[in-house]
Amino acid sequence: MTQLYLWPANLTDMVGSLLIIIFSFLSLRYAYLLTKNQPDNFLWGFLFYFCMTLAAFAISRAMGHLVKQVLLISGNREQWQALAPLAGGFNTLLMTSLAAVTIYYHKGIEGFKAIEKKAGSLKSTNRELQETAAQLHTMNMNLEEMVEDRTKELSASEKKFRNFFVNSKDMVYFCDASNQLVNMNASGLEMLGYSFEDPPSLNLLDMFLSEDDLDTYYEDILRMGFIEDREVDFVKADGSVIHILLAATAIFDEAGDFTGCEGIAKDLTRVKTMMAQLASSEKMASIGQMAAGVAHEINTPLGVILGYSQLLKDDFPEGTEEGESLQVIERQTKACRKIVADLLKFSRQAESRRENISLNEMLTDVLAVTEHSLNMDHINVYRNLSESLCSIVGDTEKLRQVFINFINNAHHAMEENEGGNLYVSTRNSDDKKFVIATIRDNGHGIPDEIKGSIFDPFFTTKPVGKGTGLGLSVSYGIVQEHEGTIEVESPIEEQEAGEKGPGTAFHVILPAVCEEGHSVTS
């Protein structure tokens, strides 16, 4: 090969120039679209300028080459030679610009990156913030729920304990270190007789009857931290005394200092009186048993004494000194036998019968027997017997004895007043479960001091020979046998019209047998 034809090079030159123009403009177009799409992006701005400069360069160079080829092909060499330096200069200029733009890009990209970084960090900070906010939000929601739940639980428990405090039938109180009451429930205030609407500011000192009790209470609380089943006496608002069973616990604060105490107290007054009653009834029962034994033993010799004294009376006629003495012996022996008979009745030796009894009928019978002697002493008898009185079940003889006892007692109480009024009334209780018979007189009444002992056997205020003191205790035993109770009222509070002054009323309350439509009329 000795020569190289230049036409393939020229051809490539022309085609290449065209393609370069095309591609450079296509690139420029996309660069333009990019900047339009995201005007804030610095990179696109740079690429746009780069493409623009490149396009200018492409035009300058490619056009230069095309014009050169055309001019040379058409044989206008001189013209090309005149144009060539200009085209070359342009080329150089634009190439330098292109390089400059590229270099300039460095500074721009740095700035852009800094901005990007800032934006990025801002973005990430923002994201973190958002996440934290979201977390906070959920936590907040949870917290709200938790608080709500807790509050509910708390209020439920508060309610529970408040209910316990308010509804407790026992006294519940809280007091501070100086024994000053901070809080006391309604039952406690009621127990002490204070009004709940206007609770007074109380100190334990005001409540305890004896200061010694309070001292030991305080000492024990401080020493042991609690007291248990302590029986003390409290003073009520009106000055009366109630018997209390007390349990208390000391309250200490976090530092372990004594800040007060909380206590629960139970009113034992009723229990105490019940215990006393029980003791007395036991006493009575044992006396009854003893009396029964004694009575049995005494009955026989008494019978012998009576028999012999009556025999002797035949030998010594009335009016003689011996006869008089024998009469005294006989009378006193008979009195003894009455006592013994009473004692035997009291000890319930006799078998009791059970039958349906109309109380009205029975009282009418009793009054028929006794009215005469009552009238003798100017005592008026008033009857007020309920028409629809329920019947009762029991031993007629024994119950008759009971009412005779009451009427006798009333008679005796009014005797010295030279006359009086005796009221005998019957009625059903409101729920028709009991029948209540009342024997009321306007005699001297029963003083408070002896009220507690009138049912005791052998308790009497009457002179020897007149009363044995067994009447009421026998009656008590009989009524109890009938599952009933006796209530004493003296002086009488409910005065009927025109009736004033002291007196006594005995209410005998017996279980009723009240069949529908069944009523006993007197």
Partner: protein, 157 residues
Amino acid sequence: MIHSNGLNKTHCLLLLTVLLILPDQAHALQSHSAPEGIYVHQLAHIFFISALCYLFWDIRRSSFPGKGWRFLQMFCVCMVLWNIVAFTGHSMEAVINASDIEVYSGYLSAKIAGPISPAKIVYYFTKFDHLFSVPALFFLYLCMRSLYRRSCEEEDR
């Protein structure tokens, strides 16, 4: 701060240049005789190459995501090659004499006369510089297109 520093530096340089040039300027304007054009042009090529190399390196360093930037790197490579070819071509023009190119029967039948030396072959092949510049621009086109599409996708999202 950096910005103001740069400005200060530029100011200093400018001042220095003016001071250096002023005495000369006082005498006469600088003349630009024949070889200056080709020197400037060749220097421009070197400047361009270094700019492209810098761009290539910077894209690599920044590791922008997406195909578009890889196309731009290929553009840089092709463009650098083209610059080298063009630079070589221009250098060869100084070696090749006008007599080496025979234009007997019109420009179209122009040829490089023998005997063929390596310099002549190199010169001949540098004439095909478009074999590098066209792919370079094609890659640029691909780069811009892919960047644009990507940005559109981003925008859609």
